[in-house]
Symmetry: C2
Subunit: 675 residues, 2 copies
């Protein structure tokens, strides 16, 4: 095969080969693991970034940039090469040499919290495309809310590159079905159809007709037959995608994995490892590449770096739009700028209700409903909904309508029975970075369906609020498939996720105060609410809820305490009741309400010791959930009233009683511990 | 609307209405929650059970029965009504009156471990159809293995009824894409297309073309336009489905939710609650129903109970096939009967390798590979694979080929990048009840994608082996999206699931011994293996692994101990190294290896105290994972060498060192605790 030498190649080819060889060199140096070589994906990425994407390398967070998501995150070197070549400060050639090394700006998978220019964290397959749906949803909502007939303040595309792996994952199917339903026309996905996944040819497991499936979802579907070389066809397809405004577009781009590596292209071997010295030599020959390792031809760099000037112009043009907008629509402009600033409206939390024991007790999911609806009018950036359990989760914002095609200004999103998709979409909305506070709701047990997305909200600093109801065996008749047992523990174990299980109306208000504030600080919060009614207790506090745990009732000095009862959520009332009985027997008992472990751990030691004094080692936790993890607070001398088996189908009150969640049983366990 | 009265109706209509009114009456009595009224689904279920399904009510576990899965598990009363009407002993009319009550045989969702005649546990949407794929896979495999040209010993269908909710869930998409790829022709799904989910019309969130999507998956797709009444069309469609043998069939059956309830049909209101007295009266009038509450017309019962005789005949016919098979193929017959008996082959575990410290250490995933391949030839019922990480999880059985269309006798299943689908398919294989031991593999972190299925394996007593590799930050370069931190804790928290994290070759063999034995006892086991190499340690034991924890090294009486170091997996070596150093300083240190909390908790107290004596309260756990939960063993006076934050992208050894997993750091922490 005779090929043109480097010097006779077009600048486009030089650019594409620059991406390819930066990746080859970086992966060769880093070895180990399963980074993806973007040999086949480089042309589509180049066309996209060179001809279509609007972004400003010198201001990566410029609001109106097109969003780019590399859903096939194992190809992260593709994105690092693009960031470097187009002139982002976040990725230097030195960073590329440090690919996948300790402390580098170029980790194994794209991480938005590490590298400026990365929008979302990908790697777990299917998440990126689903995040992309969230980004496009955010754009559609903000455009509907802020744009005027003479002012397109919000106007950008969301581009996603995804692979076979992403398309096999259920989460992508859920999100793409939703995107098709919503007609998110500014979402454009390029499917790198290279027929290879880690196990080999997709023939071994994945022979469905992906294009037909996306058509079934209501997408506009295109096909580029020769994605390795046919830049015109790629550009034409993207043009065509942009011309269809009422449907998302999926462009299937057929490529060859490892394109250009004579012995390894089109094999699974290339998916999981570096090329190796010999094959690199052959690939260089094959593609006519003569630059040194980690070196980019000047022509290519000059060409790519034009993005800097382009980006400055884009931003300048948009600044003009913004400035006109400020003149013509000062109020809307102020609100828009508040959104972007991440500030909450002044006095937003004044609306949060407080309660006294005289207030008839309700299910905490009902207090959640009240909080959401008190907040919705004053915190207009709150947007979200439920995975088809709106009237069980009680998450409807009554001041707004349904987010639907043609009504994107509305804030009630029907996610459908798609928990995982919902999770990833909410992450995308949060990571749009425009101040929106997304919330997603389902039964607490079904966090199991969306756990990967919840974890990613914590990892990638997505300020999402997770509203989870039916939080214990109090769920009742639906039985053990629907009753969380280990669920709270499994969520508390996730780093950077704040879990709050409030006991009554005041604590629910406190939980929302924390959740909203944390969302603005890019921290997710998960709240667990009861299905069943609970009383408003004398001693709960909205303010103290923010501390995670506090003394609910006491009256004794630490050193005289016989026992500390620690309750959460619907079981705090049992602690209060048991404490009364125990005190009547002359026992010196403190009750601690502990809605959130994470918030408590964030307090200083003095505070923590004031609530759970080291000298008072006899402690009993009471929570209608697994005891798993409670020993941190109860130690060897304490115990737990808990349920360490699966639940049962029966009325919730019966389940609770049968499994020992009664004042009498708490008293009995307390007496055992006191001895 | 004038309708025929009950007495003039056909027996088919009486049967269908019997199903409907049993459900109406049971749900009315039970109230609360979101049980589904099978008004629209009753006709298809009746046709299926009356004309097609082969089963024996008096022997619910008869091997060659057709399998039936109600994937839309909230319609459980449909299935209880069918079980009662066709004469199963497991559901009496009294049981139906106890619908959703404490201790009843009729829980809120179908539970195979409660009610004979229920094949799998459904309710969490999408699981049932995916289980159905597993059931059909098991049938296909056993048929390919055991059937002879003159003997169809294994020959049954798997029928599934699923709804819109199931079809929105990603897990169903994953499993159905897989089923289409595999051409599982004896899987027939009836899609109850009633356009309503809990949030209202599917128009609010689900407007994709489901039929087209299934065609894209490679399914045979049919449509019954009038599923409420057109029994002939339903029967014809099922006939047609059976005639296509190389593709699974999806029959879209368009129905009206709440059919017959004049004010509530075709509304979401009917999804979540009972009809209420007035509407029941109107529905009775509308459908011409005059029987008393919970009463079934004799004609209907007589008709339905013919299933008993039919069933006995089916079984008798099959017994003849079996008996001929025994004569003609005694060896295969003996093996078949062993499969069904749940017995393991004699001496199966003799092949499990043992190791000495002289053996070069390998990654525990490599020992897992060795165990799988030692076992595969002698335990032929082992069948499974990976979610596209075969060569990372090292799960290929070298003695067998790929399970593919036309080669169902093989045992290496390529699940594709479909973790959740894989999980539910494995559950289905296990719950086929034919002695197969399914295993499913991915990276440990991606248990997050399939957690709902893992939980269901534990709840529904599915003897699955979960093979999870890359079990810590030792995973390395892929970074925090791929590095488990809280994952072990989150899995240990699941009731009835045994988690084992072996330290070296001997413990891996011990883990497999437990996993295989437990599979036969319908208990799932999850094993966590390292990516990186570990040494074979002096003191590990295959036998002791079964006890969950054991003294690895000591030499001191309990009361003289300064410290107990508790290690798991790749960190046991750090404990061993630290103990050497501490002993050299004169400290009296015991090292406990603790591969499995659950197995340890199952030991008697005397044994547990012999390993972790109550008098020895200074304890340090060492595990490259979150400390969450470890306080159960370390108490207030102990501590953990752990990682309580997300990891980093860097070579695994660097990650481990940086986050404190070194002998020196363990020694330092130990000294702190000893004081």
């Amino acid at each position: 095969m005779v090929v043109a030498t480097q010097s006779t190649k077009s600048v486009e080819e030089l650019c594409i080969n620059s991406i390819r060889f930066l990746a080859i060199d970086a992966i060769e140096k880093a070895s180990s693991g399963h980074p993806g070589l973007p040999m086949g994906a480089a042309p589509m990425a180049f066309v996209l970034w060179d001809q279509f994407m609007r972004f400003n390398p010198k201001n990566p967070k410029w609001f109106n940039r097109d969003r780019f998501v590399l859903s096939a995150g194992h190809g992260s070197m593709l994105q690092y090469a693009l960031l470097y070549l187009t002139g982002y400060d976040s990725v230097s050639i030195e960073d590329i040499k440090q690919f996948r090394q300790w402390g580098s700006a170029t980790p194994g998978h794209p991480e938005n919290f590490v590298t400026a220019g990365i929008e979302v964290t990908t790697g777990p397959l299917g998440q990126g495309i689903a995040n992309g749906v969230g980004l496009a949803l955010a754009e559609a909502h903000l455009a509907a809310k802020f744009n005027k007939s003479d002012a397109k303040l919000v106007d950008h595309y969301t581009y996603v590159i995804l692979g076979d792996g992403c398309n096999m994952e259920g989460v992508s199917g859920e999100a793409c079905s939703f995107a098709g339903h919503q007609g998110l026309g500014k979402l454009i996905a390029l499917y790198d159809d290279n027929h290879i996944s880690i196990d080999g040819s997709t023939d071994v497991a994945f022979t469905e007709d992906v294009s037909q499936r996306f058509e079934a979802y209501g997408w506009h579907v295109l096909h580029v037959e020769e994605g390795n070389t046919d830049l015109e066809a790629i550009a034409k397809a993207i043009e065509e995608a942009k011309s269809v405004t009422d449907k998302p577009t999926m462009i299937k781009v057929t490529t060859t994995i490892g394109y250009g590596a004579p012995n390894k292209q089109n094999t699974a071997g290339i998916h999981g490892s570096a090329l190796g010295e010999d094959e690199i030599k052959l690939t260089r020959e094959n593609l006519g590449w003569t630059s040194e390792t980690f070196e980019v031809p000047e022509d290519a760099l000059n060409h790519m770096r034009k993005a800097i000037e382009r980006g400055a112009n884009y931003e300048q043009e948009w600044n003009k739009v913004l400035s006109d907008y400020k003149s013509n629509y000062p109020e809307a402009a102020a609100e828009f700028e508040r959104y972007l600033s991440g500030r909450l409206p002044d006095g937003w939390d004044k609306e949060l209700p407080t309660h006294t024991p005289e207030d008839k007790g309700l299910a905490t999911r009902k207090y959640s409903q009240a909080c959401l609806n008190k907040l919705a009018p004053v915190v207009p950036e709150l947007i979200g909904g439920s995975a088809d359990l709106t009237h069980s989760n009680l998450t409807e914002l009554k001041c707004s309508g349904e987010f639907q095609k043609g009504a994107y200004e509305n804030r009630n999103v029907h996610f459908g029975v798609r928990e995982h998709g919902m999770g990833a979409i909410c992450n995308g909305i949060a990571l749009h970075g425009s101040g929106l506070i997304p919330y997603g709701a389902t039964f607490l047990i079904f966090t199991d369906y969306m756990r990967a997305a919840i974890r990613l909200s914590a990892l990638s600093e997505a300020g999402v609020i997770w509203v989870m109801t039916h939080d214990s065996i109090g769920q009742g008749e639906d039985g053990p498939t629907h009753q969380p047992i280990e669920t709270l523990a499994s969520l508390r174990a996730i780093p950077n996720l704040t879990v709050i299980r409030p006991a009554d109306g005041n604590e629910v208000s406190g939980a929302y105060k924390v959740a909203i504030e944390q969302a603005k600080q890019n921290k997710p919060t998960l709240m667990a609410f009861t299905r069943q009614g609970v009383p408003n207790l004398d001693g709960t506090s909205m303010e103290d809820t923010a501390k995670g745990a506090y003394v609910f009732s006491c009256g004794f000095a630490p050193e005289e305490l016989d026992l500390i009862l620690i309750g959460t959520g619907s079981e705090l009332q049992l602690c209060a009741g048991a404490a009364e009985k125990l005190k009547a027997e002359g026992k010196k008992v403190r009750v601690v309400s502990m809605p959130s472990w994470e918030l408590f751990e964030a307090q200083d030691e003095a505070y923590r010791d004031s609530v759970l004094p080291k000298v008072a080692r006899k402690r009993l936790s009471v929570e209608a959930a697994a005891s798993f993890g409670w020993q941190k607070y109860t130690g060897f001398e304490g115990g737990s009233v808990s349920i360490d088996r699966f639940g049962s189908s029966a009325p919730g009150a019966v389940c609770l009683e049968k499994y020992g969640f009664s004042v009498d049983n708490v008293v009995a366990k307390a007496q055992e511990i006191i001895g």
